[in-house]
């Protein structure tokens, strides 16, 4: 096994740009002072300064949050596409990235919750089980953490620790049922080939049985029709649609079906939200009296184009493009306000690509008055939930789904 260590490797001529040069990518016009990023004013100053554009091998320039382990977010301009290109898809690791060859890859299934242990190669797994695919948003639990006010410690993500892709592989359900589940099976614990640098806790996560047995929960080998990039979990990763990406174990190596709640650090201590703050977790075996594991993604939306800070031509009709998504109930509607939230009008929803996919939306505007203009967008999910007007502050910086206010300048 080879390991790709962060952004190292001695390739000194990799393309590097300062964040300000994203205007070249988005093709928009920007006002001086707010060049480059919607988040520049809201992120911690140190995150703005160190958030350079940097290309990992095989990736387009992304916004570097940390070199080692590699944490890189996708510039919002790539979200113009319904599915995020693999080479623009964000990268998030807790430790060095394992590089496991497909030919060497093995998946072991064991634990007190299965009747018989199994081990598969890629060939035996693909031959034995029917292929399945799902279009789904993959969003880091900490997406938008950098926008928290007051700030909280952690990777200071802006809007781009997320992406939308078609994931394909086999159903986790089929594999588990092949091993046979015992009556006591409680959680499915996924472990990847990555390992902590020192003696810290290995990154291991569990799913409740109902989520593991959901026909949309996959062991995926491909995204958008291509093999997973190493940066995104090759050869195989779990896909838990609707749940935050912490459960989508990359470089998957082991599945253990337990009859007790899994007690690893990354379940029991990290990735938690205060009990009741965001509703029921759906993961009762991991709830405590104080807190719950973060689970389903909250309804959210994002204005993609024109970029915040763009100069709009007075009297010219343009279409605003955005996206909206939730934890899998699907998007019922998007409303836009141009008067600070006093009145709202429906945006036009684009094609439905599946309830776990984001939904693109468009809204035509024709600015008539020169000067500042603010656009707000608010998504409504089919489960009745909507975005919050103010931040629900929590210690780890999760579930930022505050209604976005995008400033333009009309000239």
């Amino acid at each position: 096994m080879r390991l790709i260590c962060g952004a190292n490797g001695g390739n000194m001529d990799r393309r590097k740009f300062i964040l300000g040069s994203t205007s070249a990518l988005t093709g928009g016009l920007f006002l001086p002072g707010i060049v480059g990023s919607a988040t520049a004013q809201d992120l911690p100053a140190g995150a703005v300064a160190s958030g350079i554009l940097d290309a990992l091998p095989g990736k387009r320039p992304l916004i570097k949050r940390s070199f080692r382990p590699p944490n890189y977010e996708t510039p919002v301009s790539y979200f113009r596409e319904a599915f995020t290109p693999n080479d623009a898809f964000y990268v998030r690791w807790h430790s060095a990235v394992p590089d496991v060859a497909l030919a060497d890859w093995r998946l072991r299934i064991s634990g007190p919750g299965v009747k018989s242990e199994r081990e598969f190669t890629h060939d035996t797994l693909r031959r034995k089980f029917k292929s399945a695919e799902v279009a789904a948003v993959n969003q880091c639990s900490g997406n938008r953490r950098g926008l928290f006010n007051p700030h909280v410690a952690g990777v200071q993500w802006g809007f781009g620790a997320m992406g939308n892709a078609v994931w394909s592989g086999v159903r986790l359900k089929d594999v588990l049922e092949d091993a046979g589940l015992t009556a006591s099976a409680l959680e499915v614990v996924g472990n990847g080939a990555d390992a902590p640098t020192l003696t810290g806790p290995d990154f291991v996560k569990s799913l409740p049985m109902w989520k593991a047995l959901d026909p949309d929960t996959l062991i995926a080998f491909e995204m958008n029709g291509e093999p997973l990039p190493t940066w995104n979990g090759a050869p195989a990763r779990l896909v838990a649609p609707g749940w935050t990406a912490t459960y989508w174990i990359k470089a998957l190596a082991d599945l253990t079906v337990t009859d007790k709640p899994f007690e690893g650090f990354w379940m029991k201590t990290a990735y938690r939200v205060p009990k009741g703050m965001f509703g029921a977790s759906g993961f009762e075996s991991q709830d405590t009296e104080q807190n719950s594991p973060i689970t389903a993604i909250k309804v959210n939306s994002l204005v993609v184009d024109p970029a915040p800070g763009a100069v709009l031509e007075r009297g010219k009709r343009i279409e605003v493009l955005g996206i909206a998504w939730d934890g899998g109930s699907g998007i019922r509607g998007i409303e836009v306000s141009l008067d600070g939230g006093k009145t709202w009008r429906d945006a036009k929803l684009q094609r439905d690509l599946g309830r776990y996919s984001w939904r693109q939306w468009r809204y035509a505007i024709k600015p008539e008055q020169a000067g500042a203009m603010t656009l707000m967008a608010r998504a409504h999910a089919r489960d009745g939930s909507t975005q919050t007007d103010t931040l629900v502050h929590n210690p780890a910086g999760y579930h930022h789904n505050v209604v976005q206010k995008v400033d333009y300048h009309v000239a």
Binding site: M1, L3, C5, G6, A7, N8, G9, G10, N11, M12, R14, P44, A45, G46, A47, A49, S50, G51, D54, K64, R65, S66, F67, R68, P69, S95, A96, P98, R108, P150, H151, A153, G154, V155, Q156, A193, A195, P196, T197, L198, T199, G200, P201, D202, A253, D254, F265, T269
Partner: protein
Amino acid sequence: MSHKHAVRRAVTSVMLAASIATAAADESSIRLTEDAGLPQVQASCSMCHSLDYILMNSPFQDKAAWEKTVNKMVKVMGAPMTADDVAAVVAYLDTHYGKGAPAAP
């Protein structure tokens, strides 16, 4: 299980070797404020992660918050730091990257 553990150990040692061998390539672009406390920060923190974690998380953490972060690195992540090392690193972080410190370069 023993096979798995052997593989994990091998992975860990390869990773340590690789990260020590190549740690400077792109991280070398990261500039932290020079002072007498910097060598300890470099020695302790960059064992596991690039130092842009410090820049990124500034300047909004007060001394107690930095102390909590460094203690987590020792107690949870296994950073081999003495109490003196912890004190030196926390003092450096608070002075240069603490709440109200000048914005990072």
